[in-house]
Amino acid sequence: MEEFQLMKGNEAVAEAAIRAGVDGYFGYPITPQSEVMEYLMAAKPHERTGMVVLQAESEVAAINMLYGGAGAGKKVMTSSSSPGISLMQEGLSYIAGAELPCLVVNVVRGGPGLGTIQPSQCDYNQATKGGGHGDYHLIVLAPASVQEMADFVTVCFDLAFKYRNPTLILSDGAIGQMMEKVKFAEQKPRLTKAPKWATTGKTPDRERNIHTSLDLDPSRHEKFNEKLIRKYKEIEEKEVRYEKILCDDAEYLFVAYGTSSRICQKSIQLAREGGIKVGLFRPITLWPYPKKEIRAMTNQIKGILTVEMSAGQMIEDVLLSVEGKVKVAHYGRTGGMIPTPEEIVEALKQKISGG
């Protein structure tokens, strides 16, 4: 049995990628996630598993390398931070349109523009509502610890190949940079057998494999979009993940993901010491969003405070989930600032619970 290791979230993603049998990593440096590629380059995964690691000339190139590698049936991934992820949106739309699997890690920093290198959660809308053009979805998972940074690599690749859809780990600068203990899975072999749709060269026993997102015939293209919609419905039904903390007796609820959810755990303790029974609902999949599960909580609770390191993006999904049954308010910090547990309790009192 392997021991725990002390590692940064970014390094954990990299080590987990090697162990998950990833075939290729393509990336471009940007703070606060450059450790991912630095770790990979130092770890010589080519010698360990044959994994290809390549520093691309831009995030535009990196995401299109993913498109090529995914089309060839390989497990491919990249990581970046907000401005770089913006550059990848066209490519992500093409990959979703061509129905190919891949993993993108966004270690979010404050925006808009060049913004700041400090942690933020301001890319929620971009991650969950599209980002690129067209009717498509990424499958988005939000880790709240270094351990989850590592674990979600495998989870995401399983989902990506199951549904032939790009997946995204939406992390932030805090989880990317902080050190925690982490335990890794055993080394998995790299894929040896190409999926039947992979472009590996057309052999006489099969039709040619083509990856494209183009169809100039609108009626056929609508059929294709309907197929995508059915796929997304199935994902929404089957793949929702979330965690509830101290919700059994809760009268109020924090809804928060990632770093904010970690801080909320301390806020729960403080609030309960002051007599406010509050629990935490932590969405793990941000798309598909745990709408039904949050809605189910409205029978029990009187109000919800969403806590985000943004101006209030996820709150829209919470509002849609509760359908007006309970009061919902947002508390957030922006620009790379991280809320304190005390601030959050104060906001809960002022906006939701009173007292």
Binding site: F26, V52, E57, V60, A61, M65, L66, T199, T212
Partner: protein, 285 residues
């Protein structure tokens, strides 16, 4: 009736001087009459058949008039976003290093929106082939100016002619990538006459074979016509191309590999590699 049977008599295996390569599908091409895209597709397909690499070849189609190339080639293909084909090809070749990989790109695709991907794939010395169709215009979107558009040439976005003071000078990507150590074979060809078609075919064949050298990109520019974009008949467009494009984009090899491959016995590919190198002149950078 009589006519049909007599033509059937003539169309016999031993009388055939030409047959469509099996690597082209039977789909009707959508190209304008006389367009160089169709001919170049055929040459790529013929080379793949001749080298016997159909089951080992992966192509990357661009955005441009040849966006539907995958409908015409009976090989595995991926359709890239505009300009990004070299990025896709980089990953495909690195992850499947024993396969033959090529991109097929227009001049808008390769010399404008995809300049970065093209130059960096060349500079890294990726081991795939780039087929570059330079018609000096954006064919697909209706004849707008490209970086390759000649000075004073009229297009829909340079209706009074390309004013180089205002719109910049035409970009010679082929000469540019030839200066990079990451390219091993750089040549400029055309497909407007039977003789040129034969030369272009040879060049494309070399380009694919050179992938075995693992010495970097093999790059074949085809100076081509766009009768629709240039607003000419197909014949006029060929004449105009000879008179105006060739002086600016001269045909011929710009760079050939420095190292000859060691000849292994019974190795058809390597034998022919050494053979075809004899008629190339070498320019060093």
């Amino acid at each position: 009736m009589a006519e049909t049977s007599s033509s059937n008599d003539i169309v016999r295996e031993e009388n055939l001087v030409y047959a469509k390569t099996k690597v082209l599908t039977d789909n009707v091409m959508h190209y304008c009459p006389g367009c160089g895209h169709g001919t170049t597709h055929r040459l790529v397909a013929e080379v793949i058949e001749e080298l016997g690499i159909q089951s080992d070849t992966i192509g990357v189609a661009p955005v441009g008039c040849s966006v539907l190339m995958y409908n015409y080639m009976d090989i595995d293909m991926q359709e890239a976003a505009h300009g990004r084909a070299p990025a896709l090809a980089t990953a495909i070749k690195r992850l499947l290093p024993e396969k033959y990989v090529f991109t097929y790109q227009g001049d808008g695709d390769l010399a404008a929106i995809g300049t970065s991907e093209t130059i960096h794939a060349c500079n890294r010395g990726e081991n795939f082939t780039i087929i570059f169709i330079n018609n000096g215009i954006y064919g697909m979107t209706g004849g707008q100016m490209a970086p390759t558009t000649l000075p004073n040439m009229k297009t829909s976005t340079s209706p009074y002619g390309r004013d180089v003071k205002m719109m910049g000078n035409p970009l010679k990507m082929t000469e540019l990538v030839a200066t990079l150590p990451g390219t091993c074979f750089v040549t400029r060809q055309s497909v407007h006459s039977p003789a040129n078609v034969r030369k272009a075919r040879k060049a494309i064949k070399k380009a694919f074979e050179y992938q075995n050298l693992k010495q970097g990109i093999s790059f074949v520019e085809i100076v081509s016509n766009c009768s629709s974009g240039w607003k000419m008949t197909p014949l006029q467009s060929n004449e105009w191309m000879v008179e105006n494009m060739f002086p600016f984009y001269p045909l011929g090899d710009i760079k050939i590999p420095e190292v000859q491959v060691e000849q292994k016995e019974g190795d058809v590919l390597h034998n022919s590699l050494n053979q075809i190198d004899k008629d190339s002149k070498q320019v060093k950078y």
